[in-house]
């Protein structure tokens, strides 16, 4: 969706952290990307290279940890894995499902000099 804007946020966070934590170069950026975060991983990779040019993360390796979508099935009363927001429960076929995981989009860690 708006991967360029997200990459700009990542760059801002890195620059703020560089000031706070005192580093001058980033070796690796690890992200957590949930299945329902609306992010296209390939577009994010592309945007990352473009946006990081001229920054202290210019040569950084981008590591993306994708997590699956999770829902709470009300009839089964348990957590199940779902591929789409509107998927039925894989065990009982019910649509009484609350999305409980997969919306996250965060920087997990930075490896820095």
């Amino acid at each position: 969706m708006h991967e360029m804007a997200l990459c700009e946020s990542i760059r801002q966070i890195i620059e703020e952290q560089a000031g706070a934590q005192g580093f001058t170069r980033v070796e690796r950026v690890a992200l957590d990307v949930g299945a329902f975060s609306g992010v296209e991983v390939e577009a994010l990779r592309f945007g990352f290279d473009v946006v990081m040019r001229g920054s202290l993360a210019e040569t950084a390796r981008l590591e993306i940890h994708q997590s699956k979508g999770q829902g709470w099935c009300l009839p089964c009363a348990r957590e199940v894995e779902i591929a789409q927001r509107y998927d039925a429960c894989p065990h009982c076929g019910s649509y009484q499902m609350q999305v409980t995981g997969g919306e996250n989009l965060s920087i997990r860690e930075l490896e820095v000099f």
Partner: protein, 233 residues
């Protein structure tokens, strides 16, 4: 080779926007404002629906509009023609409004306390879903000239919306659009969403939408201190 070190962050990438959104939201609550974020694909009839709504309500409510578009001020001009103050935000290369832009727009627009602020987002069913602006509700507008399966194709947006307006229902006799299926698809993605069938052109269903809007405005402004009675001449 110099030594690297690891910084554990767990920093939310949308955190900055969410911070601005929270600030907007707090300001809207303090000022008793009812704020809606209108989202749809391009061509759903969003601006026409907005103009008709403003014309019908401008004598009973304080209204203001923020118009988001990639380019041109055409839409804000249409809104201002109704007599309601409007400000255009051009996102340039951006595909959505963010909370920071909205905060600035509110600063220059200076909407009245207890007013209704309608934010017309960029016509796009994808990106605006991820960017909270501090609004009370997202309202998705889906016209019946689009497909019934749009809620399934763009589930994030329909899951984030509290109200769905099915617009252009006056055209239903000429289309193969299955409105029951469209509503079922909305419910599949978001069981809590209200769905209203409207036509901005014929006026059908518009009363229900405006009642919903007035109800929200009343609740939002209920927290404002009562205005001091005017001194007798």
């Amino acid at each position: 080779m110099s030594q690297t070190r690891l910084i554990q962050l767990e920093a939310d990438i949308l955190g900055k926007n969410n911070g601005y959104a929270q600030a907007n939201c707090a300001q809207f609550a303090r000022d008793g404002m009812f704020v809606l974020n209108l989202v749809s694909s391009p061509g759903s009839g969003k601006t026409t629906l907005l103009c008709k709504t403003l014309e019908a309500l401008k004598d009973t409510l304080d209204l203001a509009v923020i118009e988001g578009d990639q380019q041109t001020s055409a839409d804000a001009d249409r809104i201002r023609a109704t007599g309601v103050p409007a400000i255009q935000v051009n996102t340039g290369k951006g595909c959505h409004l963010d909370a920071h832009m909205v905060g600035h727009a509110v600063e220059s627009l200076k909407p009245a306390k207890g007013s209704v602020l309608l934010i017309e987002n960029v016509g796009n069913l994808v990106c605006p879903a991820g960017f909270d602006l501090g609004e009370a509700h997202k309202v998705a507008i889906l016209s019946v000239t689009e497909g019934e399966d749009k809620p399934l194709k763009y589930p994030d947006m329909f899951a984030a919306s509290d109200l769905v307006l099915l617009n252009k229902v006056d055209l239903l006799p000429h289309l193969d659009f299955d409105i029951e299926e469209a509503e079922a698809n909305v419910r599949r993605v978001n069981p809590r969403a209200r769905v209203l069938r409207v036509s901005a052109r014929s006026g059908e269903g518009m009363e229900a939408w405006m009642q919903w809007l007035k109800g929200g405005a009343m609740m939002a402004s209920a927290t404002l201190p009562a205005t001091a009675p005017l001194a007798a001449e």
